[in-house]
């Protein structure tokens, strides 16, 4: 009884140690029985991916994309943010074809910046496009035109968009990963994701025609139809006052289509878009 302190230490040590051993054995058994095997290649692929979770691939994030690539559900080139080297690395790791990536970029379907589009009123208030659009259309006479307050800029994680001197957003196609956030941010639906190779861009969405359209904006599409005459028959067609390329006929078009456009609304765009009054083809 004199050794009570020592005995109680021993008892508690034994009890705690015993409990530890028992639960340790349980955990070890559970680890064996309940183990889920995961393909180590998923981690390897995820390591190479940019990790920005931009969502442009259509999956929930980079991890989910990695799982799908390893399963073979998507080719590595679906990721629009990876460099070509990185895509090759993923393809090499998995021993699959890298796939053909179609380089896409956001394009603005309006060229009516400050000084070109008629301004009916000046908007004062919250400095976002979405708020301005709700107040009598934000002061710009054309209700289809770009409001120029840059809602598309902060949502772009790649810093690919900047306002030009006429307060229109210019997208850098090299930096754009076609994630589509700017498309959602624009209250007027003026940004469109399209393959960079589709160089013909109608920089106007006005449903008006002729002088009515011109009264609102110097660079509006007046639906005159000259581009349609100059294109191969049926390749371009007029829909709601705007020329639209018929399905699958992009390859037949050439820069000549834009040559006679009286306002410069239809452009052959290589690289960044330009929103000047007249295209260089006409000025030359």
């Amino acid at each position: 009884m004199a050794a009570l302190p020592l005995g109680s230490w021993m008892t508690s040590g034994l009890v705690l140690g015993g409990v530890g051993v028992v639960f340790g054995a349980l955990i070890a058994a559970a680890h064996r029985r309940l183990r889920v095997w995961e393909d180590p290649r998923i981690d390897a692929v995820a390591e190479i991916l940019p990790g920005s979770n931009c969502g442009a691939c259509g999956f929930a994030g980079c991890r989910s994309f990695a799982e799908n690539v390893v399963e073979g559900a998507a080719p590595p080139s679906t990721c629009t943010q990876m460099t070509e080297d990185a895509v090759g690395e993923v393809a090499g790791l998995l021993g699959v074809d890298a796939g053909v990536a179609v380089k896409r970029s956001a394009r603005l379907l309006c060229a009516g910046g400050l000084g070109l589009a008629r301004q009916d009123a000046s908007y004062v208030g919250l400095g976002t496009c979405r708020a301005a659009a709700a107040v009598a259309g934000g002061g710009k006479a054309c209700p289809w035109g770009c409001l120029g307050l840059g809602d598309c800029i902060p949502v772009c994680d790649d810093d690919a968009i900047a306002l030009d001197a006429r307060a229109l957003p210019v997208v850098d196609p090299d930096a754009c990963t076609a994630c589509g956030r700017c498309v959602d941010a624009c209250p007027r639906g003026l940004l469109e994701l399209r393959p960079v190779a589709h160089a013909l861009v109608v920089q106007c969405k006005s449903a008006l025609e002729g002088d009515t359209a011109l009264a609102l904006c110097d660079v509006a599409c007046t639906a005159c139809g000259k581009c349609i005459q100059d294109a191969p028959p049926g390749a371009l067609e007029l829909r709601a006052g705007i020329p639209v390329v018929a399905d699958g006929r992009w390859d037949e078009l050439s820069p000549d289509v834009t040559a006679r456009c009286p306002t410069g609304a239809i452009r052959w765009v290589v690289g960044r878009q330009r929103f000047d009054a007249r295209p260089e083809e006409v000025a030359a």
Partner: protein, 441 residues
């Protein structure tokens, strides 16, 4: 002691009604051209039936109702249809509209038609006639009246509440309707009581319109239980929920209509128009509009054909002064700015304000100082301070959890905010965003 006829919270903006309150309603000469958009009411736009080149008489149908929550659009003058394309709408967009070249030599008499005796009609027939006449609520929201008159099965209505509050500053449309046409208002009440089968009607008028209260009291019918109830002067007394609370003491639950409190609310101008429809047979082709503000040379209450272009309207009121800073359609608290004076007067246009620079205060927004004034002002007991913070962070789903949908955009919070935060505009934008997300989902 708290008066029974009150709601809690709200604000007391200067009413500025003196510019036009004493001016009787006058009629303007017909303009050369009228523009009638197909979308003038809440609900689906009307379906065009007129064709370019058609010669129409005043009151002829240009577009028919498309479905239940829709009303037809009628020619508001005799003339020729010149175009059915797009035209600037007060909302800022270009919408399909009928352009009518007014016949300068026409007497503008309606095409002779049979005016039915409403006493002999069944409620369903009256409601049908109201839809055919293109009637909408004339208080501003322009909700089709026939829809409101058909409460769902099992709803028990015990009273008709007539809204003559006109709590928006500047506007005197309803005020002049009550003073100049009290008998029409009473006839409208009579017709709707017959149609709804209710025994009691209360005409609620803010106490700042003693002449309207007097005119209505003098014309009260002997055989029906109709009374005039003077109410406390406070904004937004004329909002349905506030009005029902003030008059009956019943609170309308979130997301519910006045019907759930057993009352139906109609605006006085709408009732006067109901009476006119059954007196003359003419559909809704004209309305009373208050043209006011410091920027108008001769402020006035005028009867204009629906579809009058704003520039013609201002020109008929002496024109605009040079220092006009903003044009607002509706009242200064809930109205919307207009950017294009080619846009026409709609069925729901209560007034037009041309405000000079000193009447419009543009101050840059400063950070919230958490003074809580907005909480004391909000008539639906939301927390605008918290909602504003969430809106600035684009956290729309969180705003929905804080009952953003109960906000009626009355503007009280913006009005009292000492930091000039455009709260109500933030909420309007957030609500549009929420609707977009819900329709996408």
């Amino acid at each position: 002691m708290r008066s029974v006829f009150r709601f809690r919270h709200g604000v007391h903006p200067p009413d500025r009604k003196g510019l036009t309150a004493a001016l009787p309603v006058r009629r303007l000469p017909y303009p050369d051209e009228l523009v009638l958009p197909l979308q003038q009411h809440a609900g689906r736009p009307a379906k065009l039936v007129a064709r370019v080149g058609d010669r129409v008489e005043r009151g002829d149908v240009l577009a028919v109702a498309d479905g239940h929550v829709s009303v037809p659009v009628h020619a508001s003058a005799a003339g020729t249809v010149t175009d059915t394309g797009l035209w600037p709408h007060p909302s800022g967009a270009w919408e399909p509209a009928v352009r009518l070249a007014v016949d300068a030599h026409s007497a503008q008499a309606a095409r002779p038609r049979l005016v039915p005796h409403w006493e002999e009609l069944s409620p369903a027939e009256i409601i049908g006639a109201i839809q055919d006449a293109g009637l909408v609520g004339l208080g501003g929201a322009a909700f089709p009246m026939h829809v409101k008159l058909q409460p769902p099965e099992g709803t028990r209505l015990d009273a008709l509440l007539v809204n003559g509050c006109e709590c928006e500053p500047y506007l005197t449309t309803d005020h002049r309707t009550m003073v100049d046409h009290p008998r029409r208002v009473q006839l409208g009440v009579r017709i709707l009581m017959h149609c709804l089968g209710v025994r009691r009607a209360v005409i609620a008028v803010e106490r700042n319109k003693p002449d309207a209260i007097e005119a209505l009291t003098a014309t009260l019918p002997d055989d029906l239980d109709v009374s005039v109830l003077p109410l406390h002067v406070k904004y937004p007394q004329g909002a349905e929920k506030m009005l029902v609370k003030a008059v009956t003491g019943r609170e309308i639950p979130s997301g519910k209509l006045p019907l759930h409190a057993g009352v139906l609310v109609q605006n006085v101008a709408s009732l006067a128009t109901v009476a006119e429809v059954f007196e003359t047979g003419l559909p809704l082709v004209e309305r009373i509009v208050t043209v006011t503000g410091g920027g108008v040379v001769h402020p006035a209450n005028v009867v204009v054909p629906v579809g009058t272009k704003l520039k013609d309207l201002f020109a008929a009121c002496g024109g605009l002064r040079d220092d006009v800073a903003e044009i607002v359609m509706g009242g200064p608290m809930m109205g919307t700015s207009v950017g294009n004076l080619d846009a026409p007067v709609l069925k729901g246009t209560t007034g037009l304000l041309a405000l000079r620079a000193h009447e419009v205060r543009h101050e840059p927004a400063r950070p919230c100082i958490r003074c809580g004034h907005c909480l004391d002002a909000c008539p639906v007991f939301l927390n605008p301070q918290r909602l504003g913070t969430l809106a600035q962070a684009s956290r729309v789903p969180d705003m929905a959890d804080m009952h953003l949908k109960d906000c009626m955009l009355c503007g009280c919070c913006s009005y009292v905010c000492p930091s000039h935060i455009p709260l109500s505009q933030l909420f309007a934008a957030a609500r549009a965003e929420l609707r977009r997300k819900e329709s996408a989902a």
